[in-house]
């Protein structure tokens, strides 16, 4: 691994130069001839019966091409539990319910037409508190399930229950036990580029769908099911990605606006674009879900964890998207963060008339880590052990198999904790209770794929053109993380070309092999593994050509020299040095004998071999191309929610120093150190970018961000009232890369997309306790909450 030329280097993001010159084509710029613009009318109530919808005035507005309601399209259910229709025609169950949609020649006309649609509602009692909604006599959000069978409860039929060992016995045997509650809010992903798509049918009713999805094949599958259900069976679907202005989880599911866009395109026979306003992005896009946890942990007198018991209640909102599946990731820290032999976890997802949720960076991990890592500090205090020491005592080790069945391969958690301790000056600053304090928290996350679908694979196709250009078709997507650079580095390393030779096409279902999606921090790991394997095949093909063609080229050149200079005596060359591809190496575009790397005659630029070896003549010409589909050797979770669902796991620790103003309750972060196990950094600058960015979102999670939902309605749908951090907040963040190459990773790399976010908020809460002695267990930790807690303590 030592002679890596491109992996580990800070290769610039030249492949994305259009992003700095203003020429990148996002969905905003994607235009088709005759394209119309779609807009959606949302519900005025959190729960109501629709008595009538009148679209006549809207239809008559000049420039309007279609107005559709639930009565104009087939009554087909969508979503992972099939609990909603595309346009709601009888009952609305949340404020963002889609009631009607318009397509018009401009977005402004479409918007005006919405105002002309008359909807008469009969309000129904609504339920907003999941605890209330769980009660046996609570009003039902849904009367029936997807198949029309009556429902008796608002509790979703989802199997989130996990148990290992004997928690009750362990509790009895524990020397110290702590129990507390935490709550976490809805968080908007806040992609700077808002949601949007363009749907276009050809005359055969085949669909080209340009969407920001980072799961192009999943989107294709969902749309195919939908089209089949509305009577368009067997139609071809091509999903394309524009440049994507951020994702953070928003582009995992296929949202309702996308089906609406498809319906408008069908109805008008024109390409239709829907693009959200910022207000819609806040109010009509599923956020990270709100959660409540009760966590109980115990340890023995040496400080070894004995058990962990967690009960979670998730406000599912009115419908179901991926938010309801986040317990599958909550289980990661709950079962496997630190060595804990006895674990019990149960998550209950409850329908309410609130907004529904889906994925956000970290999936359920940040929520669960907030519970686990604050509990670690409480328990450490009770046991009289320094929290850093307490974590070290209980840290995971390489070779561990956790209660969930996760097989820990590499695990430099000790180094992460110690690095943070040193950089944050833990021993010097801890325990002063003088308004300043330090806290830490750690994380475990999937870092080698995540088998949530039957296939967790990714395909890569590589071809090398006769001019020495390396074209790559990836079935994956890029949403800004830098894959065009990172995957190019990996391919350059594996093939022997240079990153600048590599041209990658992402995000096209017609060209790429299947991919499970750019999610779960899996892209660099899984696509990287496919890329290494495909790259090695390419290299082999070229070296096979070289075995044939280097001798030809050398002999021709010697002859030419003899012709020019009759006195030239050709050297005796040992052609056995290059008579097998195994004896050759290709690096940095040069082919040379392994035994004699600087051989003056045999060392050949790869372009010469391609020119001479590909276009040879009748029956002899060749192409250099390879494809690899790689599915990681992992397991699906079984009925007990156990299984090694990733090839490897990433660890990391965040340490925070805060200053708390006792007069105002304001928390100032003086320093944040985030040390992460990345296996090997393919591109350290880009890895740090992932850590910084994720840590910053984590700080927002800890201190400022929440979607305020009042009686089901989002009331802070703008950047004035939804507080995302700016450059002026000036929080010094240090990202530390801990390298311990993983045997399963491409050149040792692990995934690092999500981890930086996970431990940040609990580290802040723990630091605040160290500073002023109050626990805020309800995110975000606003000055009001700190002040109230200080007051309650008489401070």
């Amino acid at each position: 691994m030592e002679n890596l030329l491109h992996v580990g280097k800070n290769v610039p993001r030249t492949a994305e130069i259009d992003k700095v010159t203003g020429h990148a084509v996002y969905i905003d710029e994607y235009k088709r001839p005759g394209m119309l613009y779609g807009k959606i009318l949302y519900s005025q109530y959190a729960h109501a019966r629709i008595k009538s919808i009148n679209t006549e005035k809207a239809k008559k507005l000049p420039g309007v091409r279609a107005v559709i309601t639930g009565y104009d399209i087939p009554d087909v259910r969508v979503g992972f539990l099939g609990d909603q229709t595309v346009l709601k025609r009888d009952i609305v169950r949340q404020f963002r319910d889609e009631v009607a949609a318009v397509a018009a020649i401009t977005p402004e006309i479409a918007e005006d037409a919405l105002k002309l649609i008359e909807v008469e509602y009969e309000p129904l009692p609504a339920i907003f508190d999941p605890i209330e909604a769980m009660k046996p006599d609570a009003a039902l959000v849904h009367e029936t399930d997807a198949r029309g069978r009556p429902l008796r409860s608002n509790i979703l039929p989802l199997p989130w229950k996990f148990s290992a060992g004997d928690v009750d016995k362990a509790r009895e045997e524990s020397t110290y036990v702590v129990k507390h509650d935490v709550t976490t809010p809805w968080i908007n992903q806040c992609c700077m580029g808002t949601s949007g798509c363009v749907a276009e049918f050809d005359s055969n009713n085949n669909l080209t769908y340009c969407a920001q999805t980072n799961v192009i094949f999943g989107a294709k599958q969902r749309i195919a099911t939908y089209l089949r259900n509305i009577g368009l069976k067997g139609k071809k679907i091509r999903v394309l990605n524009p440049v994507v202005g951020g994702s953070f989880g928003t582009k995992l599911d296929t949202d309702i606006y996308e089906f609406i866009c498809i319906q408008l395109a069908l109805k008008t026979r024109k390409p239709v674009k829907i693009r959200f306003t910022r207000e819609e992005e806040f109010a009509a896009l599923p956020p990270r879900q709100a959660s409540r946890f009760t966590i109980e942990q115990g340890c023995d007198k040496e400080g070894k964890l004995t058990f962990r018991k967690v009960d979670a209640i998730l406000d599912n909102g009115a419908y179901t998207s991926w938010g309801a599946t986040t317990p599958s990731v909550m289980m990661l820290p709950i079962s496997s963060m630190y060595r804990v032999p006895n674990v019990s976890f149960q998550a209950t997802c409850v329908y309410t008339n609130n907004i529904y949720s889906q994925a956000m960076r970290g999936y359920g991990n940040p929520q669960a880590a907030f519970a686990v890592e604050t509990s670690m500090d409480l328990l450490a205090e009770k046991a009289g052990i320094d929290p850093a020491e307490f974590r070290l005592i209980n840290r995971n080790h390489p070779g561990d198999v956790t209660p969930m069945g996760l097989k820990i391969t590499t695990c430099p958690l000790e180094e992460c904790i110690n690095t943070v301790k040193e950089k944050i000056k833990w021993d010097e600053k801890r325990g002063k209770k003088n308004g300043r304090g330090v806290g830490m928290a750690s994380l475990i996350h999937v870092a080698g794929g995540a088998r949530v679908y039957l296939s967790d694979g990714t395909g890569i196709r590589i071809k090398v053109n006769e001019d020495g250009e390396v074209d790559v078709l990836s079935g994956s997507t890029d949403q800004g993380q830098g894959s065009p650079t990172v995957i190019a580095q990996i391919i350059a390393e594996a093939t022997g070309f240079r990153p600048e030779d590599v041209n990658i096409v992402f995000g096209d279902t017609a060209l790429g092999l299947w991919d499970a999606g750019t999610h779960a921090s899996r892209h660099t790991f899984v696509a990287g593994n496919a890329a290494v394997r495909a790259g090695e095949l390419i290299k082999r093909q070229i070296l096979e050509l070289a075995v044939q063609h280097i001798p030809k080229l050398v002999k021709r050149s010697l002859k030419q020299q003899q012709k020019k200079n009759p006195d030239f005596v050709p050297p005796e060359l040992d052609y056995t040095l290059i008579d097998s591809p195994d004896k050759l190496e290709l690096k940095d575009r040069m082919i040379y004998p392994r035994e004699a790397p600087d051989h003056p005659y045999f060392k050949t630029e790869v372009g010469k071999i391609l020119t001479s070896g590909l276009h040879v003549g009748v029956g002899e010409s060749k192409a250099v191309a390879a494809e690899v589909f790689w599915d990681p050797p992992t397991q699906m979770l079984n009925a007990e929610m156990k299984g090694n669902y990733s090839c490897t796991y990433a660890f990391g620790t965040a340490g925070v120093e805060v200053e708390v103003d006792k007069q105002t309750g304001e928390v100032k972060i003086l320093k944040l150190v985030s040390a992460h196990d990345v296996g090997r950094a393919i591109n350290p600058t880009l890895v740090k970018g992932q850590i910084y960015g994720a840590a910053y979102i984590g700080i927002g999670y800890g201190l400022t961000e929440r979607v305020q939902v009042v009686d089901g309605k989002v009331v802070n749908a703008n950047f004035r009232d939804y507080k995302i951090l700016t450059a002026n907040d000036n929080i010094p963040v240090e990202a530390v890369i801990i390298e311990d190459p993983d045997p399963a990773g491409p050149y040792g790399a692990k995934g690092i997309g999500e981890p930086g976010l996970v431990p940040t908020a609990p580290a802040i809460a723990n630091a605040i306790y160290d500073a002023v002695g109050v626990w805020i267990k309800d995110l975000p930790i606003t000055p009001e909450k700190v002040l109230a807690a200080l007051k309650a303590q008489g401070q």
Partner: protein, 157 residues
Amino acid sequence: MKKEITFTLNNEEVIVEVDPKWTLIHLLREVLELTGTKEGCGVGECGACTVIVDGEAVNSCLYPVMEVEGKTVATIEGVALPDGTLHPIQQAFIENNGVQCGYCTSGMIMSAKALLDKKSDPTEDEIRTGISGNICRCTGYVQIVESIQLAAERMKK
């Protein structure tokens, strides 16, 4: 009622008919097809639409189009040299991961340019204040600030 306005856009004189109700971003994106300027919120809160008018960074989504009459406007499309050579700020963003998804990048670069055009040697605080109206969700601003510092250093030489 459309009116004709004249102004300088990326070093060229432009004479164009506009509806006085338009914002500058509407003219730029929808009429002149300069789509590098992004609309992230439409109400002046995110800074993705930042352009430079007479040396000042402004939110083009709020800027009334009639006010550019006689003024000089610079957008992201005019930052690189006509031969495609990147401006040092653009180059630094590419080298130092100042760009991730790229949606805030045009506005971020315009705010940085407005700052560096006025002050060649800003402090970190001045840089942070200079881009405080530009929201970025990807980077945590760290490598953006570093990119601007790198560009400032190179521009001094």
